[in-house]
Amino acid sequence: MEIQEPIISPAHDDYPLIEVSELTKRFGDVTAVDNISFAVLQGELFGFLGPNGAGKTTTISILTGLARPDSGAIKISGLECTKNPKAAQNLLGVVPDDSNLYPELSGFDNLCFCASLYGMPKHERQTRANELLETFGLTEAANRKFAGYSKGMKRKLTIAAGIIHKPPILFMDEPTTGIDVSSARQIRQLIAELHRAGTTIFLTTHYIEEAERLCERIAFIVKGRVVKIDTVANLLQPIQERKVMLISISNSSANDLYIKLATAFPRYEFQTISAEQFRVESVGTISIGPLVRFLENQGAEVTEARRIRPSLEEVFVQVTGIEVGLLRKEKEKGGGG
């Protein structure tokens, strides 16, 4: 997935709009959410990053009132919501991972109906629905039944339905999963715009690049536990100084060369990616000349050598111990993202 939208970082004050402490949810023997605590600040775009089954959707369900926690406390905008999730529901917009609009209604009617659930008067909801249909490029499909929409259109209308009542807090569960690249890009731009406009966004995703580009702070969640929370800048800081290169070879196996390389270049760390590719990592500069000469002396032909920008992916792997391949597989399963 290639993401080219600009990283956004609007200013926000330090008022915690969502406060979660020691939240736990079990389904039988399975602990879906395990004693997690975090706060989301007003105006912040907060990412919840983890593989499928990590507890992201369950957390959203609890925070929005669709599930009850076994223990822990939730405050939204200062309101105690643990026992009374209805208390703050008028402040929340929710975009679920599955489009949950009414298949038998048109796009326009779906939006008007969703607005009416928040008590918006008829004229206001019709104006707002038309405005959103235009923003999301769905004006032409406004009178078509939702059932006939494409996946990308469905997702866009679901987002429009989530923000129809202009909520100050928006929960988005995997908003770009399973849709084509172009729609995913449009949706990311819309998320960035909503954030710029001051909406506090709680975004769950298993796309590391998406979280890195969009979010200001990220929580890594694995097996129901939050293993790390920090700003993207702070998360990346420890690996920023490290230099990483990816070297591709032919005529020889990277596996066979691994020990020889490690012995000849003790300052570098080597990792075999495949029989034709390995990764070199170093705190200082990597001198490519001696490396290439050494490989050629061993009978290998260097076909490519490129520097890799350390990304959040590295941090995620280091912190969670989850192989990137696993997330990639999920990404492929999910679709275009």
Binding site: L66, L92, P96, L101, Y102, P103, G119, P121, A161
Partner: protein
């Protein structure tokens, strides 16, 4: 005010999306005619016997109209997750479920008038006590709808909703005095009749149309109201317990 905007629009949406669809309207028309025709032919009676069939046909029209549609639509919305959208709205669950059931209640009341209008063309209905008949129809529509709600929140699949509905509905046809008096049932079946809400609804209707009742009218109304409250709150409890997990 905001809550009532939501209430009104939930009801309107359901009416437009489900109840006012041509197949349902035709079902509302054909069903009572079919039942009246069947018993009319079976009894071989005169046109006057239509009046004796009327309480049963009204009750069955309401029962089948409300339970089948409500149980199926709620199960369908639960299955495709659109029901979650309602649960996310800032409306108390009680009001939300009243809104959700109000369309079915209205549909049931309208269904009740199909056999009444038909009967008015075929026989004299001037002796009907409307002041009793109308609240009885509304109350039977409420209790049948809440039975449909109870069924909807007890199952997870649409086909289960249909099957489970029939589990209640078909015995009611024979046990609630719709077409055969309860006194004609075997003694061991009669207690079952008294456990079913429609028995009391039909009793009021028979009193209003034919002037014959088994129970005092106050008792009939009280028991029906009691069934409504119990079915509604058990359904709400089930939603809390099973759907907001």
């Amino acid at each position: 005010m905001k809550r009532w905007i939501a209430f009104w629009n939930i009801m309107l949406k359901d009416m437009r999306a489900y109840y006012l669809k041509p197949p349902n309207i035709s079902w509302g028309l054909i069903f009572p005619i079919a039942w009246t025709g069947m018993f009319f032919i079976r009894t071989g009676g005169s046109l006057d016997s239509i009046l004796t069939l009327l309480p049963g046909v009204i009750a069955i029209s309401i029962l089948f109209g409300t339970t089948s549609l409500l149980a199926v639509t709620i199960t369908f919305e639960k299955k495709n997750h659109s029901f979650e959208r309602l649960l996310l709205a800032p409306i108390p669950l009680e009001l939300l479920m009243l809104a959700k059931t109000s369309g079915a209640i209205l549909f049931g009341v309208v269904n009740a008038f199909v056999p009444i209008i038909l009967a008015s063309f075929l026989t004299d209905i001037s002796q009907v006590i409307w002041s009793i008949m109308l609240p009885a129809i509304v109350l039977v529509a409420f209790v049948s709808t809440f039975l449909g709600l109870f069924i909807a929140v007890s199952v997870s699949e649409v086909f289960e909703a249909q099957t489970f509905s029939n589990f209640f509905r078909f015995p009611m046809i024979f046990l609630c005095g719709l077409f055969f008096p309860i006194s004609a049932l075997p003694v061991f079946l009669r207690p079952l009749s008294y456990l079913l809400p429609l028995t009391y609804g039909v009793d009021i209707l028979q009193g209003a149309i034919l002037g014959q009742r088994i129970f005092p009218i106050g008792l009939d109304f009280s028991i029906l109201v009691g069934f409504c409250i119990v079915l509604f709150y058990v359904s709400l409890r089930n939603i809390h317990r099973k759907w907001i997990i």
